[in-house]
């Protein structure tokens, strides 16, 4: 049995398991922290920086998904500064690739779009980059549009840690990064892919999706929670 620690989040006293991250604990206690790359049930990345929080006593901000809780910690999840940082994070993600909602399968079911609305991103303060990656329609059931990808690596983590296949990974680095199947093969020809569909289920945007259906019909969230609940059962058992 692991130790329990006590901390306060937004003034509310909560108990948490030692080693858990702040974001997980906050969500368990119905305290909302926006997040994009975080996915419960797989390892944390700390890449999107949307889940930043302040901790009293430190001038820095911390990505709550990769910061473990500690005894007596005082966490602040909402402030003017945090909202400013989160807004910037979303703006930069939007500017990185051509995210055009009106022609996207995920329109209305997109976590990036949802967060942008929530944080009041109505225009971009940086120039947009128009990448021109080729659309991959070679797989029988799924499609992959790298132009909509935000490199959250949820698909990579879920393929590696839940499906146990690791058919997906990142190639190159920085702004040139791209999610790939096997040796940058076309999806339909990637031998190690088991076509389980978990990657498309966890994709927060419309980069990986089921062919021929708008996301509103796929009921993504239900699928994710189903996969993840099976995962946590397995971990406990």
């Amino acid at each position: 049995m692991s130790k329990t620690v006590e901390l306060t989040i937004d003034g509310k006293k909560v108990a948490a398991k030692e080693g858990d991250n702040i974001l997980k604990v906050a969500r368990e206690n119905n305290i909302y922290i926006p997040a994009l790359c975080y996915l419960e049930g797989v390892s944390s990345l700390g890449g999107c920086r949307v889940c930043v929080v302040e901790i009293r006593g430190s001038p820095k901000v911390f990505a709550s998904c990769v910061t473990p809780v500690a005894e007596g910690m005082e966490v602040i999840t909402d402030s003017e500064r945090l909202r400013r940082y989160r807004k910037w994070a979303i703006e930069l993600l939007l500017a990185e690739r051509p995210h055009v909602c009106s022609v996207c399968v995920a329109n209305g079911n997109c976590e990036l779009q949802q967060l942008a609305t929530e944080l009041g991103v109505d225009h971009l303060r940086v120039d947009r980059k128009w990448t021109n990656y080729e659309l991959d329609l070679t797989h029988e059931r799924f499609a992959y549009d790298p132009n909509r990808c935000i490199l959250c690596t949820r698909c990579i983590r879920v393929c590696d840690e839940v499906e146990g296949v690791h058919a997906i990974d990142l190639m190159l680095r920085g702004k040139n990064s791209k999610v790939i199947f096997d040796l940058d093969d076309k999806w339909g020809f990637a031998e190690s892919c088991t076509s389980c569909g978990k990657c498309s289920a966890v994709c927060p945007v419309g980069a990986l999706y089921v062919k021929g259906k708008p996301l509103s019909e796929v009921k993504k969230k239900e699928l994710v929670s189903f996969v993840m609940s099976r995962r946590s059962e397995k971990t406990i058992g």
């Binding site: 590696d160 296949v165 690791h166 058919a167 997906i168 990974d169 990142l170 190639m171 190159l172 680095r173 790939i180 199947f181 096997d182 040796l183 940058d184 190690s192």
Partner: protein
């Protein structure tokens, strides 16, 4: 080769034997991947997909992981480089001293793009960040030989000399 590993499209030759010996020496450890990639590039000159597939099978690593690592580092070449390699330093000092002009001149004169190889496979042009010889800026490396404080004309002359020699030898 251990049991259960399928043969890939690689030709069995001395290089492959040496590579497999090196992998064996590392006891097929997954964390030796970077070391193995270095050895493979030394033996083959570049890492093509067949080679990477073979390495991933021997080390029992997912191919996507191997490809991700190989593409992450600039040093690993995934395409066959030309017979002659020209690298122009584009670090801050060299850039200020006119490295861009050198690169453009080479691109124009030899019809090759940075990061690419001429259609005849004679010359590859790469750019890199700071080779650590800023006092000699702008720096160009032609087949391992560094030319410092060079004007575009001098560099072009040197490259023509090197590529030309190859032509004579080929006859």
């Amino acid at each position: 080769m251990p049991d259960g590993v399928q043969q890939t499209g690689l030709k069995t030759d001395r290089r492959l034997t040496l590579l497999e010996a090196a992998i064996k020496k590392h006891q097929y450890r997954k964390d030796a991947l970077l070391e193995i990639l270095h050895i493979a590039q030394e033996l083959y000159g570049y890492l093509d997909k067949d080679l990477l597939t073979h390495i991933s099978k021997l080390l029992r690593l997912p191919p996507s992981h191997v490809y991700g690592v190989a593409t992450f580092y600039n040093l690993f070449k995934l395409k066959k480089p030309g017979a002659h390699v020209v690298t122009v330093c584009m670090g801050t000092a060299c850039y200020v001293k006119g490295a861009e002009e050198i690169v453009s001149a080479i691109e124009r004169d030899f019809n090759v793009k940075r990061g690419g190889t001429t259609p005849d496979g004679k010359l590859s042009l790469f750019v890199t960040r700071c080779i650590g010889a800023c006092a000699m800026a702008p720096n160009t490396i032609v087949d391992g030989e560094t030319i410092g404080k060079a004007t575009p004309d001098e560099v072009l002359k040197k490259i023509r000399a090197v590529v030309g020699v190859e032509k004579v030898e080929a006859r």
